[in-house]
Each structure stands twice: as C-alpha cells, then as structure tokens.
Symmetry: C2
Subunit: 374 residues, 2 copies
C-alpha cells in the first residue's frame, strides 16, 4: 500500500480522511542560501519519513533505538509503542516558494498569492504564511506532535519552523456517521460541510482538475489556514437570543432559525410575525451560505485551540480554521462576504496562510515531484 | 453518589484516579477587596458546578440552553453532547491564601510556603503560584477545557486566572494495567510511581494523616506543579548512549542500566568491566530514587505539553510535572537531590507552584468547608 496516497487515490491523505481528534500544523521557511536541490532532497526525505510514520513505524529503519549508541537516534522515540492513530500528513507549497530562489517562478499557479487583507484582520506575521506547510492529524496528540517534531528535525539545515499550532476537537463533520462537533462558542460547526463520500461536490469544489491549474497541481487543492481568536469572555456574557442571531442557528439542535432540524435548509425569506427575517441577514450562516455566494462550497477541516491564558487572565482560545478548495478566490469570495458578519464583534483573525496542496506522489516518487521535475 | 468524592472516599478525585489523557490546569488569584465570605461563596459555587460536570451534566440546572433567551446561558455549551470522559476536578489552596486577607493566617499548615529556589530554576512569575488552583483531567480535551472555562466564569468578580496550562499524554503510570507512557525525551516515565491501589504506600507518602497537619487538611495532600521546559532540539542531537546515561535507563525497554527488565530494581552498586558504575551517580534515576533519599516516594501525575513554537522556531515543549505528597519538604528534598542531575543540561524549570489539597467535602458541604468553617 502506498501510505501517502492511502484512502484517497491520487489525492493526499488528510483532506477527505475522516477528521481526526488532534492536529499539529506547522509552517516552514526554507533557510537562506538553500538551493532547488536542497528543496527536492527535503521533500524526498519528508515523503520517506511521512510514509513510514503514517504506517505507525519509526521515522527510519534504524528508528528510535536501532542505530549506534554513539549517534543520536533517527527517531525521537515518544511515539514508540503507540499505534498509528489514523495519522495523516499533508504537505503544502506557499506563494513565497515560487519567488526567484528555486527557479519555480514559471510554475506558480495564477491564484497562489498572499491572501488580501480582510476586514477584522489583525494578523501576526509570526503566525502567518510560510514557504511550506505540514498538516499532521491523528487521534492521539502525541502521535501528531511526534510527526511534526521529526519532520522538523529532518529539515535541519534546510528549513525551519516559522510557526506551529496545535488543535483538538474537530470543528467540522466530514462523514455522515460523525455527529456534528461544537466549536468554542458552543455551537455545532460544520453541519453543511462537504462530506468525504460526496464525489461530485468534491470535484466541483475541492479538487483542482487538469484543465484548472498547472499540470503538477492536478488532483490537488488549495489549503487556507486562519487562526481565529475568539473573544470568549465577551461571547459568554452575551444573551442566548443574540448568540443565536449572530450564528443564524439555535444553540441546542443547530437548526436554522427559519425552522426544521439541524439539516434543514435555511430559508432566508422566512419572516417572523413582525415581518423581520427569521435569519438575520448579517448572521454567519446567511453570509457564508452557498445560496448567497453563487453556490460556492469549501471543505472545512478545522480544530479548536486553547493556548493557555493571556496576561489579562483570558483564555487564549479560538478556532484554527482549515479549508480546502479548488481555487483561492473561492475562499476570498466567502471571506469578503463575511466582512459584515455579526460574529465579527466576537472574533479576530490573527493568523493566515495559503498553500497549494499537490496531489499524492505516485509510488516511489516524492511529494512535489511533478513541480520539481525530480 | 457524591461525585466530588467519587472513587476515593474522603480524598478528592484526580489524585489516585487512573490518570486521564488530557489536562487543563489553572491557577487563580482572589481579586482585590474580596472577603472571606466571597471566598466561601466561590468555593460553594465551584463545588456545585464541579459535582455536576464530573457527572457529565451542564454546569447548572438551566445549563447551556434551558434559561431565558434574554440572558447569557449558565453553561458555555461546547461540551453539550459529550460524555463525562472521566472528568475529575481537584482544588488546591496556595500559600498566599493564608495571608492577612481572609483571616486564615492561623490555619496555614507549617510547610505551606513558596517553594525555595532550586538550581536550574528560571521561573516566570506569570507561570507560578496562585491563591487557588484547579486541576481538570479528562479523556477528552474539550471536556477538560470546558470545566476550567466554566469554573473561571463562575469566579467572575471574585477570582481571576493567573495562568493556565494544557497537557496531553500522561507521563506517569498510576495503575498496574496502564503501560508506562513516554515523555518528550522519548523515555518511559513513571515506571516506579506509586500505584492507585497501593494503600500502604499512599498512606505512607501521599495522604496527610490527622496527626500530621491541621484538622482541615486530614485526608488531603500537597500538590506541586512544575512547568519543565525541555530543550528538545539539544536533546535530539545527543547520542543515544549519553541519553541513556543521563536518564539511567535504556530508551527501549526502560530497564535500569544495571540490568533486568523495566520493573527491575536499579542496582546502584553494579559496575562495568572498567569498574565504573553502570548507573551514573548523576543520572536522573539515581538521584531521584527512594533508596538514595531516605525512602521518600511521591505520587507523580504529570503531562506532556507542546505550546507551539518559540520565535526561534523551536518547540515550546516539555513536561508539566504534577506530584502529590504528604508534605512539601518531601518534594523539596528530592528536588535538592536533583541539583546535580545530568538531565539539568537539557531542561529548565520555568513555572512552579505549591498548593494544599483539602479532603473531599462531606455530602452537601463545599470544598474547604473544614478550613473556612462554612
């Protein structure tokens, strides 16, 4: 079995894979004076190690213990004895990788640029962007952390971590069998997400087709990451009716305020006795809904995060939003539509990144081989 | 069932409870101008909410959804639909609680003082100490986070979070059935820990007896927290033989370097062919071992942590050490013995705290009722 392609054919794992419980996401920058050959070697080494780790193996054949006692072990060892825990490792290439350094200018996909500034952005450059990214997801956090740690170590002298983010408790439903999880505002999140077995919707919204991008990206996608800080204490002091109005759904069942159950289609024309829309036009569900955005859907795969406490004693918490879509402009269209989102009062976008996600390598090849001609 | 006392009789849960997969630990300070009555009311409210949450219930009877839509819900909602996940909530009282503010000076246990400075300490005051602490452990991180968030919210106007810490992947074996987990140095950790069913060892080392402390603390314990940053990248570049020497055990099986299996007693007199001790005298296992410390044992219940990445691109990671012992001087003795620990080169103690952990309240009473006379 080709583990890198496991379960998704020509696509990388970790996109339509049923979303796991834990995330460690890392963005990397190539080091100064590295060459195209360094990049190709790094991607080959990463592919080798990722393929092994996704099978529950040590990072190399000698691993955590089998090498010489007079050398540092290849594997850092904290996952020894743990199962693979559904680990998936997904690689992405950022806009900056296509500058003059590696001779890749000619192969930059048209839309692979830094995302434009959006209203409510308060971005920290140290939590944004990166030449490369790795999304590691697993049902055991120690397994996800082990993957990022060992891939970072393999990158030594070639690439360094620019920033990384841990997350837990998925915020998106990706299979019919999963109950819809709740985000840290206490609301079900991802009710209308694209499901992993909805091949038509995936082709329509997620996968880059051969005619839509450079050949090296066919079967791939674009990954957007947004670190969205939630103003937890402010939200928690807001009355329930206002929380429901902001979201556009009720907190208990997750049903649209126009009626029905969680999976009922929202009726944006429904009005109450006084003639007011039952779903506020500025609600999150209204502004983000495909019906109000030319049918655009994206595959969300986010996680909650709590990074301890700020110096004011507030929870440093929120949503680490991850989405896959067949073009960056689809995300940009939706995010612009959300500029008047009533939820904007309770959130801040503090980190951001965009990466092209190549297809899985063919057996024996390395991730990005189509791009680098390796 | 009295959930606060569940499974441990007169002792609080979360001490001998089989250690769960996830931790959210928070330290609180009482706000300025709060009174003894405020403290008593806070502890009563916390007891009520903790008892409910440990049963998998919302924080109050009206909960996340049952109140008026014109009021903020009592419960923040992100754990709705999730099981209790073996949640335990454990409360502690710090040295500073016994200053002049609350009239408790006369009831301070003799050893409840800030821990002394130790070699290799590099303590951040914003990650140390606190009037009160809460240890929330659960097998689902969202459940542990929900507990701390809602208890912090209940404290509004009375106490604020001073600092908090999340952790994952227990670092101590607490039942015979658990395999020994690995810390982020890749080594089995907690092999010789006190097990939850070893009543004699618990009486000898962990529980404060009626003759050993103030009456309000009988059946309680003392909790030490230490945020121990691991210099991951330095460690990872160290050869295996040196890692083994520093720990005093082999990385694979976790056996002492004097021979045998993981659970073999270390033989500190064993020598190799050249006459050198097989277990280095400065190894961690040698310096911390009960045989070399007058028989002192402590109950460890720590967690690994990874708080993302530093601005140098290094993992901000380590061990959040938690231990329970019947007197603070037992921890102090062990920590002083570790001042020449060969591991000191690879770790920094960056946070520290000590709290007295009262017994569980009797049915219908609040935590700390014995202290406050409530």
């Amino acid at each position: 079995m080709d583990a890198v392609a496991a379960g998704s054919g020509i696509h990388q794992p970790g996109i339509t894979t049923p979303v796991q419980e834990h995330l460690h996401f890392a963005a990397y920058d190539m080091m100064a004076r590295t060459t195209r050959e360094d990049l190709a070697e790094l991607l080959a080494d990463w592919t080798y190690a990722a393929t092994r780790m996704m099978q529950g193996l040590d990072v190399s054949a000698t691993g955590a213990l089998g090498g010489s006692p007079e050398a540092p072990p290849d594997d850092t060892g904290e996952a020894v004895g743990l199962p693979a825990s559904n680990l998936t490792i997904t690689f992405g290439f950022g806009p900056s990788l296509f500058d003059a350094r590696f001779g890749l200018e000619g192969q930059r996909p048209p839309g692979l640029e830094r995302l434009p500034a959006f209203l409510n952005d308060d971005l920290d450059p140290l939590r944004s962007d990166g030449d490369l990214c790795i999304q590691a997801c697993a049902d055991d956090p120690q397994v996800a952390v082990h993957a990022i740690r060992n891939l970072s170590r393999i990158a030594f002298g070639r690439a360094t971590i620019r920033w990384s983010q841990l997350g837990f408790g998925r915020t998106s439903k990706t299979t019919a069998a999963q109950t819809t999880p709740r985000n840290l505002f206490g609301y079900k999140d991802g009710t209308a997400n694209i499901l992993a077995d909805d091949t038509a919707a995936l082709e329509e919204n997620v996968w880059v087709s051969a005619s839509e991008g450079p050949a090296w990206l066919a079967g791939g996608s674009y990954l957007v990451a947004r670190r969205i800080a939630m103003l937890i204490e402010t939200w928690d002091r807001t009355r329930l009716a206002e929380q429901d109005r902001v979201v556009g759904r009720d907190k208990g069942a997750g049903a649209p305020l126009s009626g029905g159950d969680e999976f009922a289609a929202p009726d944006f024309t429904a009005t109450d006795a006084s003639g007011k829309p039952r779903i506020d036009r500025r609600s999150h569900v209204s502004l983000a809904h495909p019906d109000n955005n030319g049918g655009i859907r994206i595959l969300r795969r986010g996680y909650n995060f709590v990074d301890g406490t700020t110096d004011l004693g507030r929870l440093n918490a929120g949503l680490f939003f991850l989405s896959f879509q067949k073009s960056p402009d689809r995300f940009i269209t939706l995010q612009k539509a959300l500029s008047t989102d009533a939820m904007g009062e309770y959130i801040r976008h503090v980190g951001s990144g965009l990466w092209a996600v190549p297809p899985a390598p063919s057996s024996g090849a390395s991730i990005g081989a189509g791009l680098l001609g390796a």
